[in-house]
Amino acid sequence: MIDFGAVQQALDLLFGSFAPWLVVLPGLIIGLVFGSIPGLQISMAMAIFLPITLHMDFVMSMLFLTAIFTGGSFGGGVTAILMNIPGTSSALATAFDGYPMARQGKHNEALGLALGSSTFGCGLGYIVLFCLIQPISVMVLKLGPTEMFAVTVWGLTLIASLRGDHMSKGVVSGIFGLLLGTVGYNDLGIARGTMDIDILLDGIPAVPAMMGMFAASELFNLLNAKFIVEDEAQRKVSIPKVLSGFKTALRHPVINTRGSLIGILVGAVPGVGSSVSNLLSYMETRRRDKNPESYGNGNPKGVMASESANSSSEAGSMATLLALGIPGGGATAVMLAVFAMNNITGGPTFIRDQTDVVYAIIFANFGQVFLLAVIGLLLIPMLAAVVKVPVRLLVPVVMTLAIFGSYGLTGSMSGPYTVLTFSILGYFMKKHNYSVPGLVIGILLGKMAESELLHSFQISGGHISYALTRPVTLVIFVLLLLSIGYQPLLKFIKSRMGGK
């Protein structure tokens, strides 16, 4: 599977001159900055800096763009931890435990954990990509709507895990979110729930809704506080604590490896990617933990699970881009433009004929992982200083950024209106013990779930037995059932054996 001749050529390409590496450092910093500002997406950063790549060769262009991608994946987690704003859907699960950690004065550790797991996830992702790029791409081609629906259902089961203290309210939140996610035109061209408002025809913008539900609603709760972290002693930015968080992340290889593998597999599925992988990884880690109730209240394992998955998704999406020429999301779509600008078509022929170039891109990403760790450790102290800003300045600043960011995401006033509506809804839901994450997950997955279910229905002609003829679907559903029933089953077996 590994072409060692091409490996040698790839190393020559990368280390024959220092030039390709000159663009990696600026790329990582651009990604980190764009990822850390709510509303500025990684794909936006890549699109803005795309014209610069006209003066670069193909390998150098790809290194520059993948560096932005890598930096941005980590940057999204920074705002999720410090401000409870998951600037992208891939950092949603990071906010579940990262922000509570920050409020407990453990912001240094949380950022260190996120960096450690991001580094681990990204590194492992590219190792797997190096070894298994062709099998992964073949697997992706076998996935149809039924399999995609099964993956979505898996993501939706997280709603039940995040129900909080009230099962009924948690499920209402999640399924109501699912309904909100289906507002607008469906794949049949039928518009539902739009109230004749034009901006709703495309549906409720998911990321602005997420910003409103998490960030703005939380800021209303902060109004009467002086600082995010009340205890002055804990407000300090401490590099040893950041390093301790980083080391802690590396001491949990099982959580990181599971997260990374989920990230690669789900990240490789076009259109699903990191927005689902971080939720699946979080859910699986929570389910397998002896103390699942501690999740959502600042459990470091929650941050690790999410960050390892969303970072390794990058490698998964690169697999489909390189091996099939299919972009899995906005960021890889911009990379596809670089392919076009260099008259290269991704796919099996590209992998066969230019294996050295593919390997060079993968090896360069190993280098980026180490650079990310160094740059992250240097920049985190600066980013963590947010907790020192008084709340009376922080709240208006963050709210303004969320509103501007939502405008930047949608390109119209639908973004700010969505943030406003969902911030008020989120505040009242939180106050009355409804699950805010559940509603957000529902909105995120609603459209995808309906679309895949509809396609499955059309292909099968309405026969449920069709799912039984799809081995991958069955495997996913069996894994899903096992992941749900694993712990109760283990408890049952243990009690039976203990009884004897």
Binding site: L40, M44, F176, L178, L179, I190, R192, V395, I403
Partner: protein, 162 residues
Amino acid sequence: MNIRSRLPEIILAGLFLILSCWYLNDAYSASASTENLLLILPAAIVVICLCLWIIGRALYEIVKAGPDQADDEEEEKEKKSVSVFGAMSILAGFVLSMDWIGFDAATFLFMIALMFLQGERRPLWLSAFPAVFAILVSLFFEYMIPYPMQMLLGKEFLEKLI
């Protein structure tokens, strides 16, 4: 548990119930085909049933708890939430006015109002910080995003100012 503390919960569950019923009806009116209602119908039914259960349980607990009693803790919370409703109104004013008076001016006014609400009274902080931040954030997004933004002063004026 008294009726005052339970009422917002009932209203919220009622809101979900009404919205789900309306959405189901709207989707059904748009098209009664199986394909259109494949996900919406079962999902809406689950939400409707659970909302009825939540409302019913809350009403039962109100009846069981008997007449209202003054709850100091609740009253304290409500006093605290005055600023929350104020902040919500200011945010609503900001969002609804930004397309009308311009992103820069709306941001400036929003910052002043929210900082004032939170107890900031130093004149320099109340004027200089919102002005500088509003200019910087407006210019930054004006340059970074490819969509036109309504501005009171305009990019050229703000650039000259800097």
